[in-house]
Symmetry: D2
Amino acid sequence: MTEPRPLRVGMVGYSFMGAAHSHAWRTAPRFFDLPLAPQLTAVAGRNEEGVRAAAAKYGWDSVETDWRRLIERDDIDLIDICTPGNTHAEIAITALEAGKHVLCEKPLANSVEEAEKMTAVARAAAEREVLSMCGFSYRRTPALALAKRMVDEGRLGDIRHVRAQYLQDWLSDADAPLTWRLDKSKSGSGSLGDIGAHSIDAAQWITGQAITGVSALMETFVKERPVGGDFVGLGGHGGSDGPKGPVTVDDAAIFTARFSGKHDGGTGPVGIFEATRFALGRKNAMRLELNGTKGSLAFDFEDMNSLQFYDASLEPDAGFRKIMVTEPSHPYTGNWWPTGHGLGYEHGFTHQVVDLVDAIGAGEQPSPSFADALQVQKVLAAVEASAAAESRWQNVDKEH
Amino acid sequence: MTEPRPLRVGMVGYSFMGAAHSHAWRTAPRFFDLPLAPQLTAVAGRNEEGVRAAAAKYGWDSVETDWRRLIERDDIDLIDICTPGNTHAEIAITALEAGKHVLCEKPLANSVEEAEKMTAVARAAAEREVLSMCGFSYRRTPALALAKRMVDEGRLGDIRHVRAQYLQDWLSDADAPLTWRLDKSKSGSGSLGDIGAHSIDAAQWITGQAITGVSALMETFVKERPVGGDFVGLGGHGGSDGPKGPVTVDDAAIFTARFSGKHDGGTGPVGIFEATRFALGRKNAMRLELNGTKGSLAFDFEDMNSLQFYDASLEPDAGFRKIMVTEPSHPYTGNWWPTGHGLGYEHGFTHQVVDLVDAIGAGEQPSPSFADALQVQKVLAAVEASAAAESRWQNVDKEH
Amino acid sequence: MTEPRPLRVGMVGYSFMGAAHSHAWRTAPRFFDLPLAPQLTAVAGRNEEGVRAAAAKYGWDSVETDWRRLIERDDIDLIDICTPGNTHAEIAITALEAGKHVLCEKPLANSVEEAEKMTAVARAAAEREVLSMCGFSYRRTPALALAKRMVDEGRLGDIRHVRAQYLQDWLSDADAPLTWRLDKSKSGSGSLGDIGAHSIDAAQWITGQAITGVSALMETFVKERPVGGDFVGLGGHGGSDGPKGPVTVDDAAIFTARFSGKHDGGTGPVGIFEATRFALGRKNAMRLELNGTKGSLAFDFEDMNSLQFYDASLEPDAGFRKIMVTEPSHPYTGNWWPTGHGLGYEHGFTHQVVDLVDAIGAGEQPSPSFADALQVQKVLAAVEASAAAESRWQNVDKEH
Amino acid sequence: MTEPRPLRVGMVGYSFMGAAHSHAWRTAPRFFDLPLAPQLTAVAGRNEEGVRAAAAKYGWDSVETDWRRLIERDDIDLIDICTPGNTHAEIAITALEAGKHVLCEKPLANSVEEAEKMTAVARAAAEREVLSMCGFSYRRTPALALAKRMVDEGRLGDIRHVRAQYLQDWLSDADAPLTWRLDKSKSGSGSLGDIGAHSIDAAQWITGQAITGVSALMETFVKERPVGGDFVGLGGHGGSDGPKGPVTVDDAAIFTARFSGKHDGGTGPVGIFEATRFALGRKNAMRLELNGTKGSLAFDFEDMNSLQFYDASLEPDAGFRKIMVTEPSHPYTGNWWPTGHGLGYEHGFTHQVVDLVDAIGAGEQPSPSFADALQVQKVLAAVEASAAAESRWQNVDKEH
């Protein structure tokens, strides 16, 4: 067994997502046989002290304070973008044009226009074997990957209902501070893009169908919040005495949807989506339920190591069964622990690295591509358009 | 203790709802002290053989084959209407004008116009102490009654989210037979009126707020079904060889909504509703979740003896707690069994009789009134109107 | 269809069990076709005022203040014994010898000696077509009856583990009053006989195997409690200031067990049992889990309308599935409501009446017989003997 | 902030536990600030090819094929023992006497005698600031650590019941191969020591009480199994045609227990324990429930990121609440992801490293000490003695 060639990674950004990505780059080769050997070559951030501390903490060999400089380096093969959405397009396009592979956090961009440009550049780069992927890491949760497999195998028959909720509660407190995630110029949108995008991607990916239209309602419950303070992570309490600034994104986004259908022909399923960070008690309830003509599947990230499956062929003694997705034959899990020994949130990122490195090693397009992510972006835009037009139905063009 | 005066009941219809109501009339005085003594005086149905068998089975003293004759009888104090929705208006109006109290199954009628007439007649009758009530029996499920009490006590704070699903699966089989519930002329609508109406009533009642507008999507998955056959109950299989007839109602109804707000002033919660009889594996999942500024409540009829409550004041060790709603101090339950010994579906009907008889005994308006049910009817109509107009927002007038 | 002959019932006792039995006698013929028509002919109790009120409340036609007089009446066909365990033997034996059928609440008696006498008398009576049954009503919970059916069908293979818990919490409060259930002379034992007996009967019945030996530990956490006061139902608070009396029964009983094996030959499963009324938060957690060579079953009465089933043949995507035991083909449920509309605690008593009346109509031995109940009694005695002898193993003779 | 001194680790063994420990040593400093910097200096194993592959895979800098040589190396500060139980004593004693800190997998040894020797040596070593710890890693599951904290805070009051189950199913298949875990000479015991030991340690640790006596039943369901084959990990299928060898350990161990009581004075709780690898469908159900005078706690490792808590002071609206143990203030979780983003099995090992390195850095005794593990060993021995003596009660001496 010869030593695999190195894959030298340069990461931009080092907060929540940076910590998760760093762990994934370090850990993937310890549990999976990869065709390339990831190396944590450099991390970039504007604040030198901050980026140096992050490099030491997370195990990066060097630092840059300018992402352009990171891209220019000869010893970097891949750029991993972990910054807010408003910076994605410029960094990704620059990197791809410089011949670097790209892993870009979701949502791909803050607008359809940006996402379209990125997708065009990605397509051109792919011709030169420069590959790109968008970080919808929930696809790598074993239970959702198993759901995808089961749908592909036809175990649900034709799908009639898609029911997706992404419920969190860390903004319920009206005094939680104003962060970049609440600033439309940086984040693009609120619950919709932050968490709803995961639901949209998962629903389209697992069903193998595109959302063709939506009718939406959006709401901002808390119109302004305390500014300033050193906000780290999600949640927290900003104090109610100081100055406040406006929340410019949605607190909740709710929409109905239609899908393209199995063969893009007949009627596909109807869908219902909800994304909120105000559902007290729901901490990370990324839920997806599919009802088909033969069976149903249900998932909740709060119990992420299991998948509920209803097989109608077993009636009258059917009943949803809770599959513990920890068997050797389940996606990803055979490389970890014995049956019943569950995985955690960060494993999705590790599996994302595995799939990305496998694709790069094979010279194949990783999934989800920028085009897949653009399709999500179009749905996000249609949701916002419908919400702004009294919930009127908005069609979504399908990306070809 | 003197013997209470009799309350002589005449029931119209004797299938599923008739069986449930009969049990309730028989059982209520055995577990609750009532101001009047219900008597199962007569049951009416067009088929003499059928109605005689039902009377013997369910314990009614006499039969009529014409509901008009039932209403004319001097020995009847209350008419209990258990027939399909298209007959409600005529029977109820005739009964009220004849001075009989009325209990009418839900939905109140098959159109807003009918419901408005019924409500006007009911109001006039109430002036003469002739009382009426609509049978939204889910209000009498102890867990939902406890939810109402807790919301009234302010334990959720201001409500931001209403999340209602009513999921069944008994029509998933495309060969299930065509019954009156699938015929718009008899049932008014499909999932929407049959089960969605329960969700709408529960949501408005528990929040104490009216739905002010909706955006909706409706779908009929199976366009035609086998006709004929002796269909009894829900579900079943009609055979796929014989003739088929058109399904003229919705199989699924999905909508977003806004509520009037606590004081009919500021913004109320946003709502999301789904009603379907095609969610394989969900047998009677009448679910309701409310998220407020102080806490959350969640209910699922498939586990009907419990209520989930999240009290944010207990953070960081909060977590949804599963209240077994079987304590002596919980609504209705103290009259039944010791703690932990759950109740079943039909208890809601028994409690409905209790509340109705209590109201009649006190000469007070029972709840839900026809006016309350009219409000539900208006929401149903708005949902249908929105679905017919590309999901465009439809306002719902509030009944005053 | 000719009218069935009457079955004239005389009930002794009218508290918790009396209310449940009365409801069952009234309700069974309304939902099930019975070969005999139960009539609530008379109820007996020592306190004339109390028994008259109970008769009016529960629908009994007449009263007696002496159970001997009840048995002497010519217009009584069956004696239903709902009194504390210390009275069972005398009443049952007198009734059987007088030619009355007997339904006797569990546990059958307060000692093996009494139970043996009762069983001998019951056997002799059966020769004269005078039938008897012991009221282990949990057998009639649809989910447990389904469990029995599935085990009989071989769906679990050979059983290796029996895991039974009966957890309640209504005695956790050290100031809950001293009632007859805490007085060994009346109740025979504490948790062991009150609730543990249900677990023992269910385990033996569902497995079709007898417990052959036990090793036990018993404990009384609260040695004395307040006396006096009007204690109604379970639980409550007796006040801590007044006089106290000794608790003479076990608060908790825990034991390991072995079973006779499928063919009374090879090694049967090992069992573990726990009965307590001090498990705070567990309201009526009558739980049973069986693990076999092909699958497993798990039940919890707190979610009584479902049964968990693990079918190993479905691996690697098996997982416990939650069967909602409300299908038309499930035991008892087809006579009630549509799929998904659950039943409650008292339905077990109604089904018990159905099975008893069916057996009497057919002239066959009802199940469980007094002999079955004697077997349970022997296990109770062995548990007490082992607990009194430093947990040493105690064999249990099998009743033949 | 100066760079912490290195802590140079030498690990013995590299299979299942070796993989988990390696991950922990690599990962702990990435998420936690440690007083010493762990270095993966060397790994030892008898098979040179195997150990070289493991070193490459898991990130160890060098290899040894003799654990004695590893201990002799000057550049090793700590020996991490991940081998079967029969080798623990010799390796640990040699290491401690050579002045190396020791982390030893559980169970500490295969006999009380060995464990006593190890404990004596560990005590002597501690005088020289050479520290030791036994790897009961479940203590570091955040939910169990929170349980410990809540019990210590008195939120359960006095504990009356301890209910522990450790249920797996990977040996259900009678053709699963004979591995070292089924060979008493290597593993010491079967389910009892492999998984039951975790339950015993957790129960004693969380209650703060020692088990003072037990009555036990043990069973071996499958007496012989296929030998040979390349068995990796748990479970699997060995084929039924080849030669078989005897299973010399227990397949299931069940026992009742008493605890020392809060102040080693009055009666402590009664306990019930079950360990089996034959509970089909239970994959890693390490469950613990405690019932106290004020509340209850329940845990199941199959849903490892939550803890169920019943607070009786909240009655009548109490109910078990499911605390998601992912809050910043919960044990360990603040160093990982935002609220609601769960952890996995291996995090317990990472936290174990954190606590061990913190203790070494502070020069304090890590917990659990060898003395704590010896106490567990004594319980294991008492269980075996009781099972061999017709379940007779066996007292357990308390380690002082």
